[in-house]
């Protein structure tokens, strides 16, 4: 079998493992696994390993980091989400695995999107032939993964809020308390914001080299600025006495919607308005 054949095989296998993990995480959320959430973590890790192998094989085949088209970005984005989630799960000492029920389906969505896209490895057009591509897209993956995690935490925030009002005891033990959710979400967004700032700055430096301007109000640029502003508002809301938790969670959700629009919407819904990407 060719390298590409193996890559496809590993990619598909990781998809099914993530699917299984998502299913088990959801069972765990409803307390059906009897506290054995580890059943969900195992396929998630196995999926991640196979997925990593697929990405490495693709890098070998392409002779560069696999960062240059929609499929490759979606692929690595999904990988980043899983890594971010598993880091979180570990840092909570595996006490709140049910939280995976909020994150793994997002991974599946992104992988599902990736599988709709053309996967052929094509050589880079002249504007993309730059060392900045790796830094720019690499930081974008980190930023987007962190924002996805924060989005999942915001959803968990609202679920937990509702569970507290309705006294759904089974959920209360599965989802961290609101202050902890809020805190984790802040950490994820702070990290994501730092990375997104790097994405925008490296993108501007690259755009100057390739096109002769740092900033050109291209839809992609504009939407990433809007995303960045929304997360800046999020960071400030936490200093404001009148607004907090819920408002912050809403902004996290709106910010993530902007992330998705910057990434997918601009390409799909605003075609013909921009000349590249």
């Amino acid at each position: 079998m060719t390298i590409v054949g193996w890559e496809t095989l590993f990619f598909s296998a990781s998809f099914y493992l993530y699917l299984l993990a998502a299913f088990l995480y959801i069972l765990d959320l409803f307390n059906i696994l009897g506290g054995r959430g580890g059943y969900a973590t195992v396929p998630a890790y196995c999926g991640l390993i196979l997925h990593s192998v697929a990405i490495i094989l693709r890098s070998i085949e392409a002779g560069r980091a696999p960062f240059s088209n929609q499929f490759e970005f979606a692929n690595v984005f999904a990988w980043g989400i899983v890594v971010a989630y598993l880091v979180l799960e570990r840092s909570l000492r595996f006490r709140y695995r049910a939280f995976g029920a909020f994150i793994m389906p997002l991974t599946l969505l992104i992988i599902g999107y990736a599988s709709l896209l053309p996967r052929d490895i094509r050589p880079l057009m002249p504007a993309l032939q730059s060392g900045w591509l790796t830094v720019h897209v690499g930081t974008a993956i980190l930023a987007y993964s962190a924002f996805t995690l924060a989005f999942g935490l915001a959803i968990a925030y609202f679920v937990r809020d509702r569970a507290e009002q309705k006294q759904w005891a089974f959920l209360l033990s599965r989802i961290p308390a609101l202050p902890l959710l809020d805190h984790l979400s802040h950490k994820a967004i702070a990290f994501g914001f730092f990375m997104l700032s790097l994405v925008i700055i490296t993108g501007a430096i690259w755009a100057e080299q390739a096109w002769g301007r740092f900033w050109g109000w291209d839809p992609k640029e504009t939407w990433s600025l809007a995303t960045w502003l929304i997360y800046a508002a999020y960071l400030h809301i936490r200093f404001s006495r009148n607004w907090q938790g819920r408002q912050a969670a809403w902004l996290s959700i709106i910010g993530f919607a902007c992330v998705l629009f910057t990434y997918i919407g601009v390409n799909v819904l605003l075609p013909g308005l921009h000349s590249y990407r």
């Binding site: 050589p123 914001f193 730092f194 002769g212 740092f214 809007a226 404001s240 605003l270």
Partner: protein
């Protein structure tokens, strides 16, 4: 008189109230969100239209400036508070502030019976190992040891905001003072370029397009020679540029920007034997005065092919089957003949008295030349901004105060206070680990 004073005072108070609410966090958040929504609104318009209708409009630019002013005002207003915050978190000069024990969210009491006998020494060693800066204090309530770490993080938001202001200022300066020009030409051509306060002569020594096997473009290379206007002076620079690799000369930068085909159109008069010709790029037109005819070049196909639906395209970039698509207009700009005519390079069209055709074609290169100021400011602003973010997010100012009430060393009980500016849960873990150590001495010191 008194009335007037009162009125003036009231106006002043209103003004200051307005200013206070302008510099409030809520106002800042509102402005940021408004800017975000308005920015995005332009992305649904075609680009050129959006630039005029949104990004260069007075209201958008004003909002941008308003956000910057708000940011500046907020930052200046917080300055005092930041300085205070810095000293609360443990400089020696302001040790009384450390006495405000209620400011510490974490507190733990260790009894003499459970504390290690050498708890004072042990605590100092432990905190030093954790990279805390130590300082002995004499508080009204007794002797204390103040340990602080990451104080510089307090200034993170200041650096972030100042970096951002620098970026905005530099970007506006660049927009206001920058100039640019697009020079298009063929190998061998010399083009006079006036940009900034200087005129240079740009010679295109060579232009190459590097194709891959499948006919797609790998890269464009323009070999440039830059001279001053004086023909006697030696050349200034000689270098090859390509996409992502511009040539920087002084404050000017030369970018490989565009490329394309240019076709030579000619009009021949068989009676007089005279020929007039003009190089045209698709989209350009030329008026042949002797015939009163305008030629509009629509497209050039180096390797013409007709698709299933009748559309025309070029099968490869190689000039195997070169054709032009054009139209003719008369003196009144009325169409002469069909709206689009196809002609093979080398063939000619018979017009009354004249012969019209296209005989040569070349690749031309488009060089964008720019002179922009403020780039150093822009880059320094970015670095300050990123450093500020790093301080905000990854340097956590925190402080531990150990108090031996009653002033006697290693006697009575020991109270430990902990404070951190951000990320309290992570700090709590660290705090209780240290407490645990002091109680049990589980982690042996080397």
């Amino acid at each position: 008189m008194k009335m007037k004073d009162k009125k003036a005072a009231m106006q002043l108070r209103n003004l200051s109230r307005l200013l206070t609410s302008f510099t409030s966090m809520q106002c800042g958040i509102f402005l940021i969100l408004l800017l975000s929504v308005l920015s995005v609104s332009g992305s649904f318009l075609p680009h050129a239209e959006a630039m005029e209708a949104v990004y260069r409009s007075w209201w958008y630019v004003s909002l941008f400036i308003l956000v910057a002013l708000n940011l500046l005002a907020c930052t200046l207003r917080r300055l005092q508070q930041l300085r205070k915050g810095y000293s609360i978190s443990g400089t020696g000069k302001n040790s009384s502030a450390a006495g405000e024990l209620s400011a510490y969210p974490y507190r733990f009491e260790i009894d003499k019976s459970t504390a290690r006998p050498d708890s004072r020494h042990h605590a100092a060693e432990l905190l030093k190992q954790n990279n805390y800066h130590l300082q002995d204090l004499k508080l009204p309530r007794g002797e204390a040891l103040l340990a602080a770490k990451g104080r510089i993080g307090i200034y993170g938001s200041l650096a972030t905001h100042l970096g951002l202001l620098l970026i905005i200022a530099a970007a506006y300066y660049g927009v206001l003072t920058g100039s640019e020009e697009l020079a298009q030409g063929f190998p061998g051509e010399r083009i006079a370029v006036s940009i900034g306060d200087e005129t240079l002569v740009l010679e295109i020594a060579d232009f190459n397009i590097n194709y891959r096997e499948d006919g797609s473009v790998h890269q464009y290379y323009s070999e440039l020679i830059i001279r001053s206007q004086d023909p006697e002076s030696p050349l200034l620079v000689h270098d090859t540029i390509y996409v992502n690799n511009p040539l920087r000369y002084g404050r000017k930068t030369f970018y490989q920007s565009s490329y394309g085909w240019a076709v030579n159109a000619y009009l021949h008069d068989p009676f007089s034997g005279r020929t007039e010709s003009a190089m045209l790029v698709p989209g350009q037109e030329y008026y042949f005065a002797p015939a009163g005819i305008t030629v509009q070049l629509l497209s050039f196909y180096p390797d013409l092919e007709q698709g299933d639906q009748g559309h025309l395209f070029s099968r490869s970039p190689e000039p195997r089957h070169p054709h032009t698509l054009f139209r003719l207009l008369d003196q009144d700009n009325q169409l002469l003949g069909p709206p689009a005519q196809l002609l093979k390079i080398g063939d000619s069209l018979e017009l009354p008295q004249f012969e019209l055709g296209f005989d040569e074609f070349h690749n031309f290169t488009g060089i964008l030349i720019k002179e922009t100021g403020g780039t150093i400011c822009l880059l320094s602003g970015s670095i300050i901004f990123l450093a500020g973010l790093f301080l905000c997010f990854f340097v956590q100012p925190r402080q531990i105060l150990m108090l031996w009430p009653g002033a006697a060393k290693d006697e009575g009980k020991l109270i430990i206070y902990g404070w951190s500016r951000t990320d309290r849960p992570a700090f709590a873990v660290e705090f209780y680990e240290i407490v645990n150590d002091l109680v049990n001495g589980r982690r042996e010191l080397s």
